[in-house]
Structures are given as C-alpha cells and as structure tokens.
Amino acid sequence: MPKPLFKARNLTKHFEITQGFFQKLRFKEKQYVKAVDGIDFDIYWKQNFSVVGESGCGKTTIGKLMMRLLEETEGDMWMKGKNITEIKTREQLKAYRRQTQIIYQDPFSALDPRHRVRTILEEPLDIHDLGDTREERTDMIMEALEEVRLTPPEKFLRRYPHMISGGQKQRVSLARAMILNPDFIVADEPVSMLDVSVRAEVLNLMKDLIDEEDVTYFYITHDISTTRFFTDYIGVMYLGDLVEKGKVGDVLDNPSHPYTQALLVAVPEADPERVRGEKKVPISGEIPSGTNIPSGCRFHPRCPHAEQICSEKEPEPREVEKEHTAKCHFAGEIDFDLDVAK
C-alpha cells in the first residue's frame, strides 16, 4: 500500500453550546454538539475520497477541519507526512493552504459580485506572492481559465460574476483553487446547486484535472449517486462518525451498515418500472441532534435490526471485505435487498 497523501486519526470536533448567565450560575454542565466524533481515514494520491450523509451529520465540519478553518478538539491530521495540527504560525498556515484548497457549494455567493473574474483569480496570487509583473500574473490567470475550459480566456477576464452562468461560476471557483497548483482540493457539494446537464460537465472537468494537474479531491456530498463516477473511496457519515467506508464499488454493491442500505434504497433512480411502487424505506425518524448522541451504536434508535447489544456497546469497525469496514455489530450478516415492493 502506498503512503497516504492525507491521513486523519481520531479527528474530533465538539462545539460548545453557549450558555446563558443563569445557566452558568447554576453550574449546569456544559453541553457540546459532537459534530465530528473521532474519525479515521486515509486518502491516497489521485484517489478521490467522498463523504456522504444527511444534512447535519458533520460532513462540512470535516472539510473545514482539513482546511484548518476550524481548530480540532482532538486528533491528528497529516498531509504528506507532516502533522498539520501542529501548524502554529501564519507562514506555516499559508504554506499549507498553497497545497490545499477548497471549493464551496454555492457558486452564486462564493464569488464577490463587485470583482471581475480577473480580480477574483488574482487574489490568491497576491496573497501568496506569485508572479512578479502584471503580465506574468495575467498569463497565470489565463492559464487557469483555460484549465477549467473557460475559453477563450480573454473573454472572461473582464466579466463580473453576474455575467456568467452558474456552471461557469463554479468553474471560476475551481480556477481560483487550481491557480495555486494545489495537491489537494476539498470540494464541499460543488455541483449540488447546478442543473443536471451542467453538473455532469463540471464533474467531468474536475475528473479530468486529476490527471492533468495531479490533484486529489475530498468530495463532500449528499448525493450518493455521483460518488460512483467521481471517487475511488467513500465514507458514509452518520451523526459525526464514519459508519462505513471502503472502495466505492464495494460499498455501493455490498452495503453492510443498515444506514448505508437505507440511503441506497432511498436514492431516486430514473427507471420508472423499478421505482413506481412505494419504497420500503427501512428507517424512520430523522437524524437526532448532535448534543445527545445515543448510547452504544449511534444509529440504534432508527435501526430496523437493532438488538440489546446495540444500545449498550459501541460497535468496532468490522471488516466486511478487504479495505471495506462497517461499524455495526452485525455487519456482513444483514441481508440487503434493494428491490422495491409492489
């Protein structure tokens, strides 16, 4: 096995809930939202890793921790063997951010409406002191625009964000990240605001850049159907924990955690003959809040297969097949039938 590009161990982020004056007076115990609760993962060079889960499961928090936009509560992360949780000074952080960039979900608000595309793309160059002359910078900007297929680049330089379409905006966001030649990009729901046809175009482009620019993505999404095409590894997140992870094909073909199974049943498919009846969605209720995580297995209150042990003991990751683990006491023993009733 090659060395991972990015490694996280016991990564944890608890947000403290602000208490009022009187609550403090009564010495009420402090409460925490356990957004990310001790997760481990490895990301290999040019092998994209995706995290899927419902809203509120903590997937965006992981992305922010990886970018060091948030300070972790516990745990360690290594990028190319260097422990990034030990980053102290501004200079170190700057050097790290040259290697690691982020793209946000909403291209409509990620770009400053008062700046032209040129200014937007020049900002990272400014910050990192790249390019000596204006001409040099212009060349770099044009190159970045060409990389994301915004051609001819001269045409886009002077435009404001409102003058380009949604897909083009997201490509400008991508160019802004790519202009620093990063090794690693955190993509937080990069295509969920875009139309289906444009979504495919942006994902294709992002995939092409893996080989062209030697970049690796950490792909955060709620849309499990895009993961198979775009990524190599997948982690399924539930309430702050990665409950199942492995190669994307293995996890989707042989889901072993009841939560992953439920997600796969629920995902809509464009095949009217299969999906016309009512689906047997095996789980009920909605994701509980991160303040009081259920005892034992955090999924047990919603799990259709829960038994006594599930509420008492937290399951260890169980290996289902090579590189594929599920945190469930019964992983590998639960039959899974994707087919819809009626």
Partner: protein
C-alpha cells in the same frame, strides 16, 4: 372535453414584458391531464416550468402575462377569470400548489394550525372547531401527529414542515395538486418517505398531480406522463415509461444520459454543452439547435412542428415526414455539440452581453 380529462391546456403562451423586451418564457404549451393521472414536468432552470405552473393558477405576476391559448380546468376557462374569481373558484378548491422552498413559506409567528385553517375559513363557512377537525384529519393522512396543529413552525423539522404544506394543499379536496420542486431541500431518506406518502395519497384520494422538478430520477417514481421542457417549449410529451426507455427528442436523450447511475461504473458523464438561450431573443428555428448533437440545416431556419412518434409528441424536425425537410438532413453547420469553441463563437456573434442579460432574467423569473 370528456369527463375523464380534468385539465386541458391548449397552445398556452405566457410572456414577460420586461424593459429589455418580451421574454418568451412559455410558448405553445398543449397537454391534457386525466382525472387521477399525473404529469411530471422537467427541464433546466429557466426553461419555463414554474411559469407554466403559475399560468395554470392564473397567477402569473406582472410583468408576466398570459398572451394566448386556453386552460380548460374541469369546464372552467381559467384564462378568462379575474383575480377575484380565480381566488374564489379555482385556487385551493380546484387546483392547489405546493411551492418551491415550501419550508420557508410558513410564518414563524403563528401556529401551524392557524396557518392551515386559512384556506378553509376563506372557502367554507365553518367554525374553528370544525376546521380543526378537518386539519387534524389531513395531518394524520400525511403521517403527522394531530398535535402538530398547535405547534409553531420552528418546532418542526424540514420534512415535517413539507408534510404540513402538503396537508394544507389537500384540505379543500382539489382535483389537481401542483408540486413545484416538493423535495429539493430535503435529505434522501426523508425525500423517499414523502414521495411514498404522495404515491399513497394519489391512490387513496384519487387526485391528479403535476410534479415540477429538474430531477428526472424523482419524476420516474411518480409520473404517468412526462413533459420535457426546453427554453419555453414542451419538446417532448407522452407516456413516462416510453420516454424513459427510449427518449425521442435529442434534448431528452442527453438529459437522461446526464443522470449518473449508481449501479454501474462509468468513466464519463454525458452533458449538454453550451448554455440555455436568452428567451428575449431565442435562437431562430428550433430553440435547441445551437446545442443539439443531431442538428440539421433546417433546424436553424424553421420552427419544428410537433410530431406524433409512437404515441409520444415530439417537437423536432427529425421526425418530420415533409420531404423538403428530409432532403435538408445532410447539410450541417457547426453546433456547440461538435465543438465547444464553436459554441463560444456562436454566443459571441449574438453579442455576449445580450445573451447573458437574458440568462439572468430567466433566473430571476424562476425565483
């Protein structure tokens, strides 16, 4: 109109008369909805699908206006109704609508019940107690506790709010419910359960539904018939199973191919190059020709007629029986499909500023 048909739309056109010119948001839309049937309307943002929904309620906001055509709703000609009549006769009672982003449309300062009762009180002469009973009955129908009646919107989750909105839309037992992106903001598990509820309600209450969404995979679950819209036109309309299995219009074909498949490994996703056109100044001939992979010479010059292909209505020259059109088939010109650079050039010719202004407008309209 026979008694099986609850809605018949004929050559409906709705335009927006903006200061930049007339926006051809919806042109020549014709379709029928059977009693108890369902239609799914799909297309990219800005294609006019929400405009169509608002037209059906005769609720197009100025500067929008229904220019021509007719909407026959169970014997009532909707386009002739005044605002007051429309409110009294059709809205909620005959047709109700679940809006996009329904989760934000409830006022936080009133209880759920207070807001649910409103249409009942307007249309029926009943006491508060009776209204409460009806509301509770419908809340149970959408799998909610009747106790939700006394709760406030902020106490509910997104899925619960969406269910309340659906229950409210059903209160006056309308013939048709229009659902505009009903599950877009919800998580897949919640979405699947709400879709289950909708399927069950349709069966139990025998109502017709019109689903509007950009997500073709959701529509596969609920629509008997499918209408694919592009740039203000219904380009393909017919039996959903047929269209999913064998799309006829080149646009539908590409749209279907762009959906990623969760079961098989694929290397590349299909997509449609270029951007949807500016509807102030739509492309000549077929509005899809600049992005079409099967474009012919004639597509640039002549608006296609709607042809009946194996029971599916397709607005495309490919299916024309006219010989002069058949002859033109060999001639080609550069389209966005052949070369994306050509698409850019095409856009350039038309004056980029113009194209983009229109785009924006289309987006604004969608909202």
């Amino acid at each position: 109109m026979d008694s099986d048909t609850v809605l018949k739309v004929d050559e409906l056109s709705t335009h927006y008369l903006t200061s930049d010119g007339e926006v051809f948001a919806l042109d020549d839309a014709s379709f029928e909805l059977k009693r108890g049937g369902s239609i799914g309307i799909a297309g990219e943002s800005g294609c006019g699908k929400s405009t169509l929904a608002f037209s059906l309620l005769n609720q197009v906001q100025p500067p929008g206006e229904i220019m021509s055509g007719s909407i026959n709703l169970d014997g009532i000609e909707v386009t002739n109704l005044s605002e007051k009549e429309a409110r009294r006769k059709i809205r909620w009672k005959k047709v109700s609508m679940v809006f996009q982003g329904a989760m934000e449309i409830m006022t936080p300062v009133y209880s759920v019940g207070h807001q649910m009762k409103e249409p009942l009180k307007y249309h029926k002469d009943i006491t508060g107690e009776e209204a409460r009973k009806i509301c509770e009955k419908y809340l149970e129908l959408v799998n909610l506790e009747p106790g939700i009646f006394d709760r406030y919107p902020h106490e509910l989750s997104g899925g619960q709010k969406q269910r309340v909105i659906i229950a409210t839309a059903l209160l006056l037992e309308p013939d048709i419910v229009i659902l505009d992106e009903p599950t877009t903001a919800l998580d897949v598990v919640v979405e699947a359960r709400i879709m289950n509820d909708l399927k069950r309600l349709r069966r139990e209450l025998d109502i017709s539904m019109i689903f509007i969404t950009h997500d073709l995979s959701i529509l596969a679950e609920v629509s008997d018939e499918l209408a694919i819209m592009y740039a203000g036109w219904i380009v393909e309309f017919g039996d959903a199973n047929k269209i999913y299995k064998d799309p006829k219009h080149p646009y539908t074909e590409k749209l279907m191919a762009a959906i990623p498949d969760i079961r098989t490994d694929i290397d590349r996703l299909e997509y449609i190059p270029g951007v949807p056109p500016n509807l102030v100044n739509p492309p000549s001939g077929c509005r899809f020709h600049p992005r079409c992979h099967k474009a012919m010479e004639v597509c640039r010059e002549m608006e296609p007629k709607t042809h009946n292909v194996e029971g599916v209505k397709v607005k495309c020259h490919l299916y024309s029986e006219d010989e002069s059109i058949a002859e033109s088939r060999e001639a080609t010109y550069e389209t966005a499909y052949e070369d994306e650079m050509a698409a850019e050039a095409y856009e350039g010719e038309k004056g980029t500023e113009e194209v983009e202004d229109g785009l924006e407008e289309a987006e604004v309209m969608e909202e």
